[in-house]
């Protein structure tokens, strides 16, 4: 029996580990275009970028277990085509594999600005991206412009400040993190950055990049042109405007692709084909919503689940219950540790049962009717997790709020 796993990062290697832990003894072929096992990504916007950690330290746990898992690991090789009906996978080295089961764990790739990319413009997803940016930061640029105040942008801005650099954070939405956080809290994030000396520009888009031509004819970024005509001069620009799931190679495979690989409630995309991590979109039974979650813990949880689900199908045993999860993530910005669980929408009501925004240490609960849709904590990890444990049982507002009774 042969299982092919596309992607050797968090979700893919967790799936491989789980297959072995569950007693699967057949072949496991893991392919990834990366030429080394991908780094653990969270430190890439934090400790490694700050220069506090050497690159070797940002290795995720499963990576160290690869030898004992007896995987057929093919690095530097991408999956390039799939026929879902026959489960035949074509690889970039020309080989064709006929698989009994497939785990899709290709993650996502950062969006770039359109147009040419002069030197000094960075995105941040891989260790190579991180080291390229870090080496530009080592040259002490006069200013770094960060485009996009999502979590990656906000963390990069904070890390650059901690390195003593001048930073401008530019966000087209009226508030940072608008995609995930109700308004007032976006305001908190903006204020946090301003208090640390970041110039925060909100509600303005980017028209384009200015560049200068070096003596050798090469182009180097010199500024960011905003939609109001102003220019932010910057020698380094970091673009953090979201990611796109890596599903290009699945066009024509027979799988449904819609904001990632479309799965059923058990993370299955087609018979004996499952998906996990940043690339997977599935109806989460706890919420009335089809979700794609770009978070570290989800990649592990879903990687484990998808592997078990696939094995059950291959072995003809009972399928597990649908993948029900309360997504959780953390983000470190300055000395604030932000954690969030659940899936609030920007229109949910905010209730602060503990601490206050002024103290920069608080818990915020999100309410929609009788439901608690999520919780956010700033330096309040215990409460976030206690609420999350309640939400796992039910989204009932009363039950979530009882944590603070």
């Amino acid at each position: 029996m042969t299982v092919v796993i596309a992607g050797a990062s968090l979700a893919g290697l967790t799936a491989a580990e789980t297959l072995r832990a569950e007693g699967y003894e057949g072949a496991v072929i893991v392919v990834d275009p990366s030429t080394t096992i991908p780094a653990d990504r969270p430190p890439l916007s934090k400790q490694v970028l700050a220069g506090e950690w050497p690159p070797e330290k940002a290795q995720h746990r499963a990576a160290a277990r690869v030898p004992e898992l007896a995987l057929d690991l093919r690095l530097g090789v991408a999956a390039t085509a799939l026929d879902a009906a026959t489960r035949s996978v074509t690889l970039s080295d020309g080989s064709l594999i006929s698989a009994d089961g497939i785990v899709l764990a290709m993650g996502a790739a950062p969006r770039r600005l359109p147009g040419n990319q002069p030197a000094g413009v960075h995105v941040l997803r891989t260790m190579d991206d991180c080291l390229a940016l870090r080496s530009d930061l080592d040259k002490m640029p006069a200013r770094v412009a960060v485009i996009g105040a999502g979590f990656i942008g906000a963390e990069v801005a904070a890390t650059c400040r901690s390195r003593g650099l001048e930073v401008t954070l530019i966000e087209v939405a009226p508030l940072p993190l608008g995609r995930v956080l109700p308004g007032e809290l976006g305001g908190f994030i903006a204020d946090l950055h301003r208090a640390h000396g970041v110039e925060v520009i909100l509600g303005l888009g980017v028209e384009g990049l200015d560049s200068i031509t070096g003596t050798d004819g090469s182009q180097r970024v010199s500024g960011v042109r905003l939609t109001d005509g102003n220019v932010v001069s910057a020698e380094v620009v970091v673009v953090g405007i979201g990611v796109v799931p890596n599903t290009g190679w699945l066009e024509g495979s027979g799988l449904r692709l819609d904001n990632g690989v479309t799965c059923d409630a058990t993370c299955s995309a087609a018979p004996a084909i499952v998906a996990a991590g940043d690339v997977a979109s599935w109806p989460n039974p706890l919420y009335d919503e089809v979700m794609r979650v770009e978070q570290w813990e989800n990649a592990i949880e879903q990687g484990e689940y998808a592997a078990k689900r696939l094995l059950a199908e291959l072995q003809g045993t009972e399928l597990p219950a649908p993948f029900a999860s309360i997504p959780w993530f953390w983000s470190d910005q300055y000395d604030r540790k932000i954690q969030m669980a659940g899936r609030p929408s920007s229109s949910d009501e905010i209730i602060i049962p503990e601490g206050s925004i002024e103290e920069q240490r608080f818990v915020a609960l999100f309410r929609r009717g009788d439901l608690c849709t999520g919780v956010l904590g700033v330096n309040r990890p215990r409460h976030v997790m206690q609420v999350r444990m309640k939400l796992t049982e039910s989204l009932s507002w009363d039950s979530a709020f009882s944590v603070f009774a």
């Binding site: 967790t14 580990e17 969270p42 995720h60 746990r61 499963a62 570290w296 813990e297 592990i300 949880e301 484990e304 959780w328 953390w330 540790k337 954690q339 330096n379 309040r380 990890p381 215990r382 976030v384 997790m385 999350r388 444990m389 796992t392």
Partner: protein, 63 residues
């Protein structure tokens, strides 16, 4: 089986508490406390799960 937490790495995000509240507890002071350092064998699977989920790779199992 002995559980060892590297407190230099741990950042008290309480993921382990969600997996095994009978062993891990993050208290009001935001520090992680081990309720037992030597959980029984019946908890091995949960301990392994905690090791896998810990974002800081702060937990190890000895024995």
């Amino acid at each position: 089986m002995k559980i060892v937490v590297n407190y230099d790495l741990c950042e008290s995000n309480a993921i382990c508490m969600a997996v095994a509240p009978e062993v891990f507890e993050v208290r009001d002071d935001d520090f992680l406390y081990l309720l037992t350092e030597e959980p029984g064998e019946e908890l091995r699977e949960k301990m392994e799960e905690s090791v896998r989920r810990c974002p800081k790779q702060a937990i190890t199992i000895e024995g």
